[in-house]
């Protein structure tokens, strides 16, 4: 049996200091981590970048994810703490966007929910819409009749009837059944 897994003991041979996230992170305190990220965001270049991203309708969650991945990859903050400080960072960016007057979207809204419209509300409350039911019934019947007679695969009408044998023969290219010749 072939197992797709490391060789037992491989961890003792691998150099675990190759990547920053293999070492203990620099910051392990919640407040210190938030403070570091706020200072990081307040840098003019970073602020410009964040506002530019908001300008192209990027969600705040996307911006926060990008910023956190940067610091995690540099070994500044551990991945668990990064998830914990995501909320305060999003809030800080939201406040900054409000302060400057930039339109923003958090990106945590549930897109699957059904939007409440006046029509939906009327239907859910059982209120009659402004359409006459008889008109709707007549319109449906007309549509069904048209579909039945005019379409290619529709049911033939009484006037049209079934084509005669000659007519059918003409439609098939005037071919008549030939009697098989004797083979000799």
């Amino acid at each position: 049996m072939k197992i797709d897994a490391p060789i037992p003991g491989a961890n003792y041979l691998a150099d675990t200091r190759n990547y920053a996230w293999h070492r203990p992170p620099d910051i392990m305190d919640y407040d210190e981590a938030v403070g570091y990220m706020i200072d990081h965001i307040d840098e003019p270049e970073k602020k410009e970048l964040i506002f530019a991203m908001l300008g192209i309708d990027a969600h705040i969650t996307t911006i926060v994810t990008t910023l956190l991945l940067q610091v995690v990859s540099r070994g500044k903050i551990g991945i668990d703490l990064a998830i914990l400080i995501a909320g305060p960072l999003a809030r800080y960016i939201e406040i900054a966007a409000k302060d400057v007057g930039i339109d923003y979207e958090l990106g945590i809204e549930n897109k699957d929910r059904v939007a409440i419209t006046p029509t939906l509300l009327k239907l859910s409350l059982g209120m009659a819409l402004d359409v006459d039911e008889e008109d709707v019934q007549n319109a449906v019947q007309d549509t069904v009749q048209e579909a039945a007679t005019e379409s290619l695969m529709g049911m033939p009408t009484e006037q049209a009837g079934v084509a005669s044998a000659e007519e059918q023969s003409a439609m098939l290219g005037g071919m008549t059944e030939e009697e098989p010749e004797d083979e000799l």
Binding site: Y30, V34, T61, A82, L84, G87, I95, K98
Partner: protein, 62 residues
Amino acid sequence: MTFDEAVKKSIKQFMAGKLLTETAKLKEDGIFYSPEFFDDLEEELLNEDPDIEVEKELEDED
């Protein structure tokens, strides 16, 4: 759950006002960057009058 989803969930919880109770227990003074801190910061930043700020700065210079 991917990192993006975890971040999204964390933001949702924070915006809903849910506190990091277990993390707060680790510190005697509690968490400094709490939702209240950000509410105060927002109020302070959005309600400040730019004209008053300029006047204050000019007074300080004199």
